[in-house]
Subunit: 229 residues, 2 copies
Amino acid sequence: MIYNYESEDKVLLAVDCIIFGFDAEELKILLIKRDFEPEKGKWSLMGGFLKNHEALDDAANRILLHLTGINNVYMEQLYSFSKIDRDPGQRTLSVAYYALIKIEDHNEELNQQYAAEWFSVSEAPSLIFDHNIMVSRAINRLRYRASTEPIGFELLPKKFTMRQLQKLYEAILDEKLDKRNFINKINGLDILIKLDEKDKSSSRKGSFLYMFDEEKYSNKLEQGFSFKL
Amino acid sequence: MIYNYESEDKVLLAVDCIIFGFDAEELKILLIKRDFEPEKGKWSLMGGFLKNHEALDDAANRILLHLTGINNVYMEQLYSFSKIDRDPGQRTLSVAYYALIKIEDHNEELNQQYAAEWFSVSEAPSLIFDHNIMVSRAINRLRYRASTEPIGFELLPKKFTMRQLQKLYEAILDEKLDKRNFINKINGLDILIKLDEKDKSSSRKGSFLYMFDEEKYSNKLEQGFSFKL
DNA sequence: TCAAAAGTGTTCACCGTACACCCATGG
DNA sequence: CCATGGGTGTACGGTGAACACTTTTGA
């Protein structure tokens, strides 16, 4: 006996992306103003529908590329949402992904084309459907992941100062951190390269720039090291 | 302009369940022998297809009830799998859930009806499709969740001994724990009720039975308590 | 010379971990 | 009376948290 797949229901499957950025002070998300019904004119996550020949990860990447012009970014599947009436237009499921991008890489022109705007996560408007729930789940996941794996660097320029890194973690965790303790901990991990260069934009003295040493990190991983912030 | 949902592809969506149980020594999963093609005769997780009028959680519960006769169990959505050719029969996505059940509650007759069998997670056979990946993801999630939230009790009878609880955590975390440290830590959490009853089945002296105090736990939660094992 | 941010170590409290002996009971 | 598992406390080291002053330099 062969299972008769044809007798089963098929569903519409959306993919929605929570796109995080960091602007030196605050954690931000990129939202678009919807230009079609239902809920036209309201703010929403970026999304699209899964195509038949496509895996979910590919769909998420396609949507992100389309909207931001950026490729090869850190993404993680978050959760699948399926309440019957979550989209009043039609029964639709949605698989949420979150992405971490460097705001500076982001193509400003596309923002205008799609009426997209960056919002601080604490001041973001209310969103359509269940998108608010998606965002808060994404923040939780990001908090967990960022204290367990070195993904924070995805939100910073290649070269960054200790102060920027600290501000980033403060924004992600939503709590103040002690400067000395933070630096001690980061240095203890021994996964950064200290450059000779200084960034003079933020102070008269200037502060040293660092880079994440991916190679060193993966070597340490193999030797049982585990990132903990 | 109204969005034209009709032009988008629809997909078949399966729900597969990783069902965990605990038999006093080992962590186990419930598997079924497939009686239809493709992959007839091979071991697999239990699954079914999402219906149009159904949310994912409901589908997962339906499948679990159908196969085990148990309702109202702890379940958590795990991840959605979408590789194009994951099911050679037809393009299908699958949303995986894991469930924790008390083995003793489980209806033995249904096991025969569906050719289902309990396997220790360390000795389980190789499974169809991407089900092995689902299982290993489920174990990881269970480990994390069980050290963060008091879900271990879902796998034990209502009344249990400290020794049983310790063995359970040893099975989940796959490491030996020190008896005194374990008990100290659990007692420190102060979320168990010590009963006057003893379980005499495991020793001549007998060991005290405990119950999880859900009410106390949720009170403590509200006061900022957090479970950490 | 002063304002503004960068950089730098130490102390203390608490938690996690290691560890060994007596107790109660049924056979 | 003895074999079997149940039950109990302490000491130590390491980690996380609190905390303040000096340095640099451009304006």
